[in-house]
Subunit: 514 residues, 2 copies
């Protein structure tokens, strides 16, 4: 094997390439400030030097408590290029949870943006981590000495992304360089990124490293447009006047965007590529976004799979289908992305279920965009491993005859009523198709006769007085009778820090008859 | 490291994924026959079984003497999936050269399509290779037993692609699975492939495995449309009526397409993505294709780099430039592709030249889409290695301030006249901008006073009587006087089997005053 073959696959290489190939293009916009690729690369080199000056070496963990910002992007490129390990902290965690993440990861340094100066100081006081204060950051970069980047082993630890932990302690999902590189290239391909992309950061960068788009947009030589907080008026201003071409967001955020007062259809001929995932977007929401010029691609993944391991790859001949069929086709999670190993749907014995669109099994994954395991938690890693070589996702799904996967429910969200399985997602989608409904969540309430019965929590459109009888009639026209909720509660839905509906909270409320 | 992380990177995985994800989509069209992805995968499985039945095991070489056809595509997927090594034979080689390739590679089996039944029999008689006769192929597949695919090491030998060998014996360029996988994904990204792509096979598949598009189109789930021979009428019929979205071709073939009687602009709103490379497309050709609706992307690579290691990545704000500037921008070779390590342009001491768009150096490459080396030829491998870890390409180029590389000439094609370097490409581009000229080649003729003087070989448009004085005046308005050829020969240009102009033939003719 000649010496010129093979270089390690690492997302740290993307910025080097884009700085060489697109030195004068705008890499990062953050408020009124912006940096070209040459400047962005220079700042990341300086940050490497600054980290070295703080005693951070290869393998050391560096935590970030940051909004979507140039700082967070610089961390995503400089920390891996330094051979260190990035620990993005979910900014919506409680102080105890943040302290747990810092301590469990053994982070040596914590970098915070101004928005979190207070909590970061408290955290540093509690854990002893070395805090880089927001107003210290620029002077550290300015004073940094130049250090050579270390050799990277493509299988080495790149980042530890803690799960939101709806049950128990957060688990530290270990990312590797090879996986992040491949996943980023896959995102470039599927999202049709390019040097003219202007990517609006509505998705939190701390969430699966922004589904690898922190690296993908850089790989493509596109422009990162940071959004320090999710403000629908600013989003619409950027969409209509800011030349945005791409964004990603969970369905709950897309609902906010679609329902905003400022929402107006984009001018004829202009569309924005939107990637969504993390939960199932309702057909109603998809149709609404379509009319606004936001073309949604539905992705599926977990923190454990670098974000989107699957994509609802749209096939042109589906455009000719009636609206309802198209909406159903688009609500499916789809197929493994171009670098992913094929997804399976397996029965409890680990065998593939029939690809009939009906038989429910659990999604199992493996391959290059699957985590190394949970940090310092072999038991948890073993608990999700089946058959020696597959990771069980906890998502119950069917395999359609055309090879596309469709989730029926999270394993823990399925409702069993009178021996029948009720997929909460199916009931929610039927509810969401009612014109009065913004979004809904259906959970099981213990019932002496049926085991469980479904209960619906419904967020109504403003100014609408909910009518349970009307909703029930709407559902009876669409679903089997046993799937129709026994009661309807009109309320806003409680959500986790990453925008997922907290069904555990709703289940607790339903137990108490609320 | 958990057991579910990492799978080997291999192009053999693409067909498995597409057969699972797009089972009913058309994978291959060959004349009036077509196969879905499910059928294509089934046939490749059968071919694996047939090869095993012929005694072919992992590591064994299997040669193909095939036109662009379903057979050649099946070979590209089945042979690597079997762990064996594909040897695509250039169908335009002389019998002696073919025999050399078969013997040097040690091929065990040779598969031929009907077009080459005669030469293949002769070859088998001469070398003893086991020939699969064209009319034997289907029955072998039908009778094949099912065999399990072996484990693949991503760094193992995938194919041996012999160079066309303008000087000396062909050299066997060793491809590996990892490189082919990554290069194919890069092609998917840069060419914007997708399941709706219909890729017209004008480029020979035996040439760098069709620049990895044999795998890329499969990875995207697109449709391979085979063209058994380059027939411009059929190409235009396919372009206008066949829904073709993509093709690749060397500039000489593009010239034929652009100059064809059947050439008509595509309907408003429809364009075809065209990738070109192998030689520099003239700005005149690019402008002509643009008017026809063929949007050309200029790629650069070598057999040694799995085809296109660089791409002239087009930046949207260049659209606003005047025609001439745009043509000049598009004639550049560009930047490393998204999975490539950055290209360098180095001086004889191996140092980067100034990125000033003027200082000439040689392009040096390394990385995951660079060959393992030359098969059984360590001396040749060493001869192209510099600095312990770079491969010297033999292409002389400048680095522009924006990071884009532009070739000035092949090292061996540069003309040195009176101590001045004349880049033959520059003179050819100026000649090609004359309305009478189809294409041209400029070589150096030995001269007692100047060392060398440039001589132009010019292929004129049909019905035009060439006027040397007029051409010389055209050039003097555009180039320094010493670059203007001393004589003009009106002739068609001799070409290699891959469509490259044979400058060595022209040099020999110029030596003899022809």
């Amino acid at each position: 094997m000649a010496s010129f073959t093979f270089d390690p696959l690492t997302p740290a290489g993307f910025l080097r390439r884009s700085a060489a190939a697109f030195p004068g293009r705008v890499a990062v916009v953050d408020g009124s400030r912006w940096w070209t690729y040459r400047e962005f690369a220079g700042r990341c080199d300086a940050l490497r030097g600054a980290l070295a000056g703080l005693g951070v070496g290869p393998g050391d963990r560096v935590a970030a408590l940051c909004v979507n910002s140039h700082v967070m992007l610089e961390m995503h490129h400089a920390v891996p290029a330094h051979g260190a390990v990035l620990v993005p902290v979910n900014v919506r965690l409680a102080p105890d949870e943040m302290a747990y993440v810092i301590e469990h990861s053994g982070a040596r340094v914590l970098v915070a943006t101004a928005e979190f100066a207070g909590p970061a100081r408290e955290l540093a006081g509690r854990t002893g981590v070395r805090l880089v204060e927001p107003d210290e950051y620029e002077s550290l970069l300015a004073a940094a000495h130049r250090v050579d980047p270390p050799e990277i082993d493509e299988r080495q630890l790149l980042a530890i992304n803690y799960t939101s932990g709806t049950t128990g302690r957060p688990k530290g999902v270990m990312y590797h360089h090879r996986g992040a590189f491949l996943q980023a290239v896959a995102m470039c391909y599927h999202a049709r990124l390019g040097p003219d992309a202007r990517y609006l950061w509505t998705l939190p960068m701390f969430h699966c490293d922004g589904w690898s788009f922190t690296w993908a947009v850089t790989a493509a030589g596109g422009t990162h447009v940071c959004l320090r907080r999710v403000d629908v008026d600013e989003i619409w201003q950027r969409l209509t006047a800011g030349g945005i071409t791409h964004l990603s967001a969970a369905p709950t955020v897309l609902t906010m965007i679609a329902e905003a007062g400022a929402a107006v259809p984009l001018p004829e001929g202009r569309t924005v590529h939107v990637d969504t995932g993390g939960a199932q977007p309702s057909p109603t929401l998809l149709a609404r976004l379509d009319r606004l010029g936001l073309r949604v691609t539905h992705l599926y993944g977990l923190t454990e799979t670098f974000g989107p391991i699957a994509i609802n790859e749209w096939q042109g001949d589906w455009d000719a289908e009636p609206d309802e069929v198209r909406a159903r086709l688009r609500a499916r999670q789809g197929i493994g992305n171009i670098i992913a190993s094929p997804l399976r749907v397996v029965d409890p014995d680990g065998r593939d279920v029939l690809a009939d669109g009906e038989t429910i099994g659990e999604i199992a994954v493996r391959g290059n965009d699957v985590m190394l395991g949970y940090y310092r938690d072999e038991a948890a890693t073993e608990a999700v491993t089946v058959d020696g070589r597959w990771l069980l996702t906890g998502d119950l799904a069917v395999m359609h005859p055309d090879g596309y996967v469709e989730i029926r429910d999270r394993r823990k969200d399925i409702i069993i009523s009178g021996g029948e399985n009720i997929a909460s997602v199916e009931v929610e989608q039927a509810l969401d198709s009612h014109p009065d409904v913004v979004e809904s969540a259906v959970v099981g309430r213990p019932d002496p006769r049926w085991g469980e019965v479904p209960v619906a929590y419904v967020h109504l459109r403003a100014g609408v007085a909910g009518d349970p009888a009307d909703l029930a009639a709407h559902l009876r026209a669409r679903l089997a009778g046993f799937k129709v909720p026994r009661s309807f509660v009109f309320t806003e839905l409680p959500k986790t820090s990453t925008g997922k509906v907290q069904k555990n909270v709703l289940r607790a409320r339903s137990d108490q008859g609320q």
